[in-house]
């Protein structure tokens, strides 16, 4: 497998040891690492959801105020946005042509993800710190 694909590379490209984009290994690794971190977080979220669906405001607030739940929810939001930002960036880079459109969408993606993570963290902290005090 590796032998046949290597036949299509020029000697110069093999000597440089970089792909067509000249970078991207860090992006690829960050995607994989955050993806691994999200496996337990996503499973926790998927099985917490049904338990919380029927709860009223007070019981759900109490649940989120518990340290473990607050921390896991915070990690889910931060790592989730980090991961999705990297993944959606690749989708934009693959399909969107034109410098202005591409750069605009990449910036929008970054800003949406940072804003979303900040809002999510603030909401979790507010519920966790205030509900605990009540």
């Amino acid at each position: 497998m590796a032998g046949t694909s290597a036949n299509f590379r020029t000697p110069l490209s093999r000597a440089r040891g970089l792909g067509a984009a000249k970078h991207g290994a860090g992006h690829f690794i960050a995607e994989r690492v955050s993806g691994i971190a999200l496996i337990p977080l996503a499973l926790w979220a998927a099985f917490s959801g049904p338990m919380l669906a029927k709860g009223d405001f007070a019981s759900v607030s109490t649940w989120l105020a518990q340290p473990l739940n607050a921390v896991l929810a915070g990690l889910l939001v931060v790592v989730g946005f980090f991961h999705l930002r990297l993944q959606i960036q690749v989708v934009v880079e693959d399909y969107v042509e034109g410098f202005v459109a591409k750069t605009g969408l990449l910036l929008l993606n970054l800003f949406v993800c940072v804003l979303g993570a900040a809002l999510g963290l603030f909401a979790i902290l507010k519920v966790a710190l205030l509900s605990g005090a009540l």
């Binding site: 020029t10 998927a46 049904p50 669906a53 007070a58 939001v77 989730g80 999705l84 979790i124």
Partner: protein, 158 residues
């Protein structure tokens, strides 16, 4: 001083032009011809392709999903009234349909990630095994989605 034109291609020009007529790619002189990237229209539909497209689709769905999650957290932070109306939105038939789709997207993304990690370490490229693994990731997503929604039904959340 005049420079002689540099010939990268040892093949005579008229001959290389004739060869190019039958070629799909325009390789630069002296460089071996590269394969064209596979394209939707010329590819037979197969399961790993469907899995790849669905993986990307699930990613875009989860982008919406995490924004819905942040909205839920914000409504909880905003107080009982905001929380009740947001839960009313999620509990509506359309809201439940969206949540059902997001549950599937979440589990399919998860199983696809594991599938791709197996490929990333260089294993599982035999077509039959790759197909089986893709079908398995779909089956896992369907079963896990059913499990979550059965749990939800058993707690009376539906």
């Amino acid at each position: 001083m005049t420079l002689a034109p540099r010939r990268l291609n040892p093949v005579p020009l008229h001959e290389s032009l004739r060869n190019n007529e039958s070629q799909m790619t325009e390789a630069s002189p002296g460089v071996r011809e590269r394969p064209l990237s596979p394209h939707l229209q010329v590819w037979r539909w197969h399961v790993t392709m469907a899995g790849s497209i669905l993986h990307r689709g699930s990613l875009i769905a989860l982008y919406v999903g995490i924004l819905i999650l942040v909205g839920w957290l914000l409504s909880l932070a905003a107080g009982p009234d905001a929380y009740a109306s947001y839960m009313g939105l999620l509990g509506s038939p359309l809201g439940k349909l969206v949540l059902l789709g997001l549950t599937f997207a979440l589990f399919f993304n998860l199983s696809s990630m594991v599938r791709h990690m197996i490929w990333d370490v260089g294993k599982g490229f035999r077509p039959k095994f790759a197909d089986t693994m893709t079908i398995a990731s779909l089956v896992f997503a369907a079963v896990a989605t059913a499990a979550v929604w059965l749990i939800a039904a058993s707690t009376g959340a539906l």
